[in-house]
Symmetry: C2
Subunit: 352 residues, 2 copies
């Protein structure tokens, strides 16, 4: 099936032309792309890519929920609307997380039976990619939200990362089932008692297990997940930076660094944050992917290609089927107090 | 002033003799040590070190609170009692966090005006050591607990790490004051409004700021702090391991690694987890320090020396004075529902 992706080209540090260059790579591999962005900054594009001139950006707006509502001409809102109206199959945004979540919630809307959309990030761990969710959409959660996140993350791991029967864990401050906040312990009991043939629940894991290949999907609330993800980024950079500094501190060390560099290349590729294309917004009626604003064309092309793979694998349908089979769909007419905008007010407005 | 430290020698991976070897190093530098552990595994000791034969260990007990209560002869309970009775000025434990917190709470007891003891870890960040608390004593907290942790951490940074006017931050999922859980946002408002001449409140920081030298003390709840600390450990190890693997992958890379090694030594020393000696249990009537069970004699000696420095700097008295000056002491007779044992039930039983 030929997939069409609606792409918001605003919000990237390197500008809309770099985002469009990513679209060109993806189009060469068979994905149709409809770009929403400033046409005068993008220029001519090959077949398979269409441009809708949408110069207005709300990527840096401090109140993305309000901006998405009051700016129908914004590129991210137009792109989301194109997905909602069936002109595209998935949404890819080049930067602002908050604006993408707001536009996604208002235009694409929550999927049936979902309490709260969640943001999932495939973490580039060497040798063992891990999907972490929620990384910032829901700062405060209830246990049934965490249970749904387990199914949503497992569906992503199966569909996009090709992991059969992914191992799903809860992130906690101890590996025993009794450890964690009340919400985490409750979610663990529900997941341990539930029947889910589509993933294996492996219980609680601790922070140092993130890189220990003990789980494929790690479930947490958006406060903890956001902090865990950013600690990971900060510490990786600090350690890599420390090694780099050492490798320029003397003539001898410089020579050592030069000799070591080719061997480090494979390792560096494995932990390249652009590889997974960005974060996946799960729980909407169609998939949205938010790239990091710092990405180059490679990262944007990965986002488009992985979104297309999710569409071809019917991520949304598979998620619903898994939730239904596991008895974890939100009950229709239940006393759910959430507004339709879910956790958008507490959402990270911009990670670019 | 000559300080005496009560040292529990049980719980270390390398055994009680390694812990005692750490005590010998500290004794040579002028600290008196009273060791509680199996005398037959320790042997002769020089002047300034006394041994109390206490072979019973509860370091690995799955229910440390119950074990501390029901095992008065356990080495950690005897060591804590020696501190409570004035025979020693501070408690140092070679391993089990849960048992140390339990014994500390039952024997040494909470300091006046403290809601909850907290566990603080000086994180070995290159160039900019950072104190993170709570890292596991209190899984669920109220905003007034976080406010007290700010004062407790600032007192530690001033007394033990020699940081004048430390910058204190709240760990959150965004740097704006509006970002975070309700508890974090409330604590931020109280800290921003309060007058505290002993530290500078710099607001919210994100996970990637941990290594960015923007704060000296980072305050969070014990669930998030435990996860952040362990993510840091796991990712550092994974990155260092990845570099090491690359440096043995070919003859050329091996040569590069060998040339680079001397330059990396300084960096490795800076991120050595044994440097800070372990975690500091703050909020008791005397200080307790919990080393990591994996430590060598160097780490145990650091724990003893830093505990002595805290005693000489009157950490406990200074904490109380700072809380009092900032109006953050727990009100006597207030409606505090906590049991005297604080968060011990939710405490990480063993990090060794």
């Amino acid at each position: 099936m030929s997939v069409t992706v609606a792409l918001d080209a605003n919000g990237a540090d390197l500008g809309p032309a770099e985002v469009a260059a990513g679209a060109v790579i993806a189009a060469e591999l068979g994905v149709k792309v409809r770009i929403f962005g400033p046409a005068d900054q993008i220029g001519d594009l090959p077949d398979g890519i269409e441009i809708v001139d949408a110069p207005v950006s709300i990527a840096k707006d401090p109140d993305p929920a309000r901006a998405a509502r009051s700016t129908p001409e914004a590129s991210i809102v137009q792109a989301a609307r194109a997905v909602a109206e069936g002109q595209a199959d998935a949404l890819v945004s080049a930067g602002a997380t908050g604006a993408t979540l707001a536009a996604g919630l208002f235009e694409i809307k929550r999927a049936r039976g979902i309490y709260r959309p969640a943001l999932a990030t495939p973490v580039p761990i060497p040798g063992s990619p891990v999907t972490l969710l929620d990384v910032g959409a829901n700062v405060e959660v209830r246990s049934e939200h965490l249970v749904q996140f387990a199914f949503m993350g497992a569906a992503l791991a199966t569909t996009v990362l090709g992991q059969q029967l992914p191992r799903v864990a809860l992130l906690s401050n101890g590996s025993e089932a009794s450890r964690g906040t009340t919400v985490v312990v409750d979610a663990g009991e529900q997941l341990a008692a539930g029947s889910h043939s589509s993933f294996e629940f492996v219980g609680n894991i601790e922070g140092n297990d993130l890189a220990a290949d003990v789980a494929d999907v790690i479930v947490t609330d958006g406060f903890t997940g956001n902090i865990a993800l950013k600690v990971m980024e900060g510490i990786s950079q600090a350690v890599v930076g420390g090694v780099r500094d050492a490798a320029t501190s003397s003539a001898r060390a410089k020579l050592g660094g030069a000799l070591l560099r080719p061997a480090l290349r494979g390792f560096r590729d494995e932990i390249d944050p652009e590889g997974p294309g960005g974060a996946y917004m799960l729980g909407l009626r169609q998939l949205a992917v938010v790239s990091h604003g710092r990405f180059t064309r490679y990262g944007f092309s990965q986002a488009i290609l992985l979104a297309a793979r999710a569409v071809n694998g019917d991520l949304v349908g598979r998620t619903e089927a898994m939730l239904e089979a596991g008895g974890a769909l939100r009950r229709a007419g239940g006393a759910e107090a959430d507004s339709p905008s879910g956790g958008v007010a507490s959402f990270s407005p911009d990670d670019s």
